[in-house]
Amino acid sequence: MTPQQIRAAFLEELVKVAPDIDPDTVSDDDHIQDDLELDSMDVLNLVTALHTRFGIDIPESEYTQIATPALATAYLSKAA
């Protein structure tokens, strides 16, 4: 997958967790908790969805590495 495809897939899963988010308005550096207001349950649901989609089991200690679309794209590209 290209980084663009990974970013799109990440946003797709993000929007499933928080359907009110318009993916076109999310910038690369938006923080999923501080800017997009996901709570801990939302983050866990997102991590679960990414595990299902990419087969990547993100440990709790690395949640910070998927905190923005830019970080997540880099992290998932490396892990995929």
């Binding site: 499933k16 359907p19 009110d20 709570d39 349950m41 649901n45 089991d57």
Partner: protein, 390 residues
């Protein structure tokens, strides 16, 4: 909730129903609510009509017991808009504790997100299916973008009675519902508050270890430990657990822990996890995930909205350090949990940095006193020091 609009029947005359079945859907200020039945029998006839606005306690249908013959003149049946405010079914004694929750439906270990990521109320789904409307083309106006009946109605192009009954936006209606409940609480309930800051180290360390070997789908959140500690402490201090009605306080034998769920885009609901004290930690976590998912998709049950016996409200991982909450009537206590903070903490003769959390209990002073409230917090603190026992 004072009234609801009947938007969907899931039964028809002749059907057999059993306690706990979902038989209808009403749209309320707090979104669509699934109405369960509290007896077993056969549906004789439906009394309420689709689109009808019904006050709490209005009869919906007549259910006959096994072998019972229909009376000549219909009498009000105990199937009502909301179980809480309804008279108890005739088989129960007047002095019985708060309504016994229906048998809890099996909870999926990992609740599925709304299909295709779409959040829509049952009524909206039903109406969309009727008219062959693809829900992905509908823009939701409910909390968090949930598609509600009115959104589908607008596309159908009909101004049905149901749509016409909606005076303003769903969000405005939810604010009104919150305003009504909280005003009532501040008017009727003399609140007292006690707070305690507790050490979170045992809980966070235990959780970190427990989650290390778990797949994301099975991981636990500290919120689940808070709910368990709250439920066990409530079971030990009965004065915080129950409901206050016209005839005074009725303690509950079970703990139905309400969980405040903030809806994205604003609004708040506090559905209850039935019989929390009988669940395991994993079951509690699964129930919480399920409730949050359904709260956001507008698929909560009437019993979950009305049978809570105590509410636990946590601010989350970041933000303010303490919350002094307003009790959710007819309950008598609310546990407000601030965001965990790293603070200097005295251990023996040394000051060490520790993750701490401040827990505040709001208690109805008509029911209990500061001493009992403090005892609840002591129990809560002790339980959080041995998370493996939760």
């Amino acid at each position: 909730m004072e009234a609801g609009t009947l938007v969907e029947w899931l039964i028809e005359p002749g059907d057999t129903v059993k306690r706990g079945d979902v038989i209808a859907v009403v749209e309320t200020q707090k979104g669509a609510i699934e109405i369960e039945i509290f007896q077993t029998g056969t549906v004789h006839h439906l009394e309420a009509e689709l689109g009808q606005k019904l006050p709490v306690g209005a009869p919906l249908a007549m259910i006959l017991d096994e072998g019972e013959k229909a009376p000549a003149a219909p009498k009000p049946a105990p199937v009502v808009v909301e179980p809480k405010a309804a008279p108890a079914p005739p088989s129960e004694e007047a002095a019985a504790p708060p309504p016994v929750p229906p048998a809890a439906p099996p909870r999926p270990a990992t609740p599925a997100l709304p299909s295709g990521g779409l959040a829509a109320s049952p009524a909206a789904r039903h109406r969309a299916a009727e008219h062959g409307i693809d829900l992905t083309t509908v823009k939701g106006s409910g909390p968090g973008g949930v598609i509600q009946l009115g959104d589908v109605e607008r596309i159908v192009g009909t101004t049905s009675e149901v749509a016409a009954a909606k005076p303003s936006s769903p969000m405005a209606e939810m604010r009104k519902a919150i305003a009504a409940a909280m005003s009532r609480a501040n008017r009727d309930i003399p609140h007292l508050y006690v707070s305690q800051t507790i050490d979170l180290k045992p809980a966070t360390e235990w959780l970190e270890k427990a989650n290390r070997d778990r797949e994301p789908a099975n991981r636990l959140l500290i919120g689940a430990l808070f709910v368990r500690a709250g439920a066990f402490a409530a079971a030990k201090v009965p004065v915080v657990n129950g409901q206050y009605h016209d005839d005074g306080f009725q303690p509950s034998k079970t703990v139905n822990a309400g969980m405040a769920v903030a809806l994205r885009g604003g609004g708040l609901v506090a559905p209850a996890i039935m019989d929390t004290e009988t669940l395991t930690l994993d079951e509690t976590m699964a129930a919480m995930r399920d409730l949050v998912t359904r709260a956001r998709a507008g698929r909560l049950r009437g019993s979950e909205m009305s049978m809570g016996t105590i509410t636990i409200s946590a601010l989350g991982e970041t933000g303010a350090e303490a919350m002094t909450g307003v009790i959710f009537p007819p309950q008598v206590a609310l546990v407000g949990i601030g965001a965990p903070k790293r603070r200097p903490w005295v251990v023996g003769d040394a000051v060490v940095p520790r993750q701490t959390v401040t827990v505040t209990l709001s208690l109805d002073h008509r029911v209990g006193d500061g001493r009992q409230a403090a005892r609840f917090l002591t129990e809560f603190e002790n339980l959080m020091q041995t998370p493996e026992a939760l």
